[in-house]
């Protein structure tokens, strides 16, 4: 089992790296590869089981796009081959058509998904989310300067019950295509959502229970009750 963390020296905001630490606790024998921005990603030449990209600064997005652009076809191939991807926070924007600044200028993305993002650096959006993914409830936090636009209804990740989807008018959060999952949710997503982590383990073909199951479930259930009251 190989799990590749892309560019952790840059893409490490909002505590998201603990998603990988938690995954390591869930799959102790997995090999974790940390690829620096200046290095060629491992997924280019070898098979990896999961590719993770965390949230990053706006400048870093441009660096990451430049780094991944030569591997666009390979990424598409891996998505078709059902390799698991987990892109959190604004990482998903890298794979969209473009990111638009307030002044109308655009930064081209990889164009893998038919969506685009608009930045508003003067207004930060913060919210909670509760929604449904397959047969489970997913909870999470959003904290972002951007909103995403385009049609993600054919590749939905979460149907939102409370909170917003990819933008304030949307009730569909993120993108799920085959085993690619991209979501604006930030922070310890897997720790907050033991049931969703279990789904990831299943996608990876691992039968393990999630780590700290009893206590993560207690926190998860308490948070669901709390968010429902909001």
């Amino acid at each position: 089992m190989k799990i590749e963390i892309l560019f952790p020296e840059f893409c490490n905001l909002f505590g998201d790296m603990y998603n990988m630490k938690y995954l390591k606790m869930c799959i102790p024998d997995a090999e974790f590869i940390e690829t620096a921005l200046e290095e060629e990603p491992a997924f280019v030449k070898e098979d990896v089981n999961l590719i993770y990209l965390g949230p990053m600064t706006e400048n870093t997005q441009e660096k990451v796009i430049a780094r991944l652009l030569p591997y666009k076809e390979r990424i598409l191939e891996l998505i078709e081959k059902n390799v698991v991807f987990l892109f959190t926070g604004n990482a998903i924007e890298v794979l969209g058509k473009y990111i638009e600044n307030e002044d109308g200028s655009k930064i081209d993305g990889l164009g893998i998904f038919d969506v685009y993002a608009k930045r508003d650096m003067f207004h930060r959006h913060n919210s909670y989310l509760i929604g449904t993914y397959e047969d489970i409830e997913v909870i999470g936090f959003k904290s972002q300067f951007t909103m995403m636009y385009g049609d993600n209804s054919k590749t939905p990740f979460i149907e939102v019950e409370k909170g917003i989807g990819i933008n304030k008018d949307s009730k569909i959060e993120g993108i799920k295509k085959n085993n690619f999952i991209g979501t604006y949710l930030i922070g310890p997503l897997l720790i907050l959502n033991p049931l969703f982590t279990k789904k990831i383990l299943e996608m990876l073909g691992v039968n393990n229970e999630v780590a700290l199951k009893e206590d993560t479930m207690s926190a998860y259930e308490a948070r669901i009750r709390e968010l429902r009251k909001l």
Binding site: N12, L13, E38, N126, F141, F145, P188, A219
Partner: protein, 461 residues
Amino acid sequence: MKKGFKFYIALWGAKFGTMLLKLFRRNATFFPGKFALKVCPDFIGKIEKPRTIIAVTGTNGKTTVCNMIEDILKDNNYVFIDNKYGSNIDAGITTTLISGANLMGKAKKDLAVLEVDERSAPKVYPYLTPTYLVCTNLFRDSLMRNAHTEFISGILTKYIPKETTLILNGDDLIASNIAPENKRIYFGIDRLQTDSEKCENIARDIIACPKCNTKLVYDYVRYNHIGKAHCPKCDFKSPEIDYLATNIDLKNMKLTLKNGSLEEEYDLISDNIINIYNIVTVITVLKQIGLSQKQINESLKKQKIVDTRYSEEGVNGIKIITHLAKGMNPIACSRVFDYVRKYKGNKVVILFLDDLHEAANGSENIAWQYDTDYEFLNNDSIKQIIIAGARYLDGYVRLQMAGIDKAKISCQRDEMSALDNIKLDGIETVFILHDLYSMELKESAKKKVEVMIRTKIENKA
């Protein structure tokens, strides 16, 4: 800038409002400024300001630094205006400027010391040019408000006036690079025995070179991204320090400050690295505006770190230490956790870190906990950790993620009831770590722990 009718309405209205608020014994440190800005949005630009303005910004330490600068100046008979009791955003700063001006909007004093929130830069600096702008440090802070350090350093660089002289933490590769075209003075602390070559912290906001993306080589790391580093590929590196603290002598509580060929000795009033940075910052600022070593040090010796942030009390041989650990601020919390683990003797640690405002609104984004070094609490000298409050279940998971044995953790929703689980046998210090908005809770908890210690001793007797 021409004043105009709106300005005078704003000024007189704010002054009248201040009078009324004071008459009713209400806090007049925010609303007069808010009113003035509502009536006259460029009010800060129009009101006459003191000739010398020292502004202090940065993620951590700005309040302490301001308080110390103000106390030392006062002790040396300087007269000035400040926002010590007011807010550090545009409305608070406006209120301070109004209180320091006469009815015609003329400045009554020649000097101002202003704490300025980093995010307020776009609303303040277009209208107010600090003579000196101190940046204590730039770390990841509340992610919901401040996003990330690149965003904050970006707005500072964009809005700081070109005429301002910067006084910057040269050990901080992010803070030291703001507004690169401005005149700058760096302060820093020389390599310490406790520095290492490897970073223990989770949050590191500059790991790779911002110019060429190559991983930086740290000559030494103090904490997070504080230390000395260089890029192995290009010319990006830590700056040469103008005011360098050397010979940090914690036994005799002294430090030496080197500025060129000049070496001066100062007293240390705290052994905490954060406060040592604050002291070095304060000395650098005061030297810059012309105070002598004697003037600074004689006053410095009288200073005490305000006890809303830190207090220490002995009860029947057991110390109770309360320490502010700002929730949602990963670095501030991590520094306190580091201090606790290194404090001598066996301890119990009580964590009241929930943001009560967020809790009152029904939930809290706890992503910050995973940028915070809870791992530092995984230490043999910490015998028990009590975690309580709305987020107790999340905290319980976080502590276990830090590798802390479940048997050491006691977690409960109700804060005061949670204290009943304290085990005092063999304990030398009880730490109560609390958020900024948990002052009352901290005081109640402190009293309860005092009673518990006294009862335990009486029962033994």
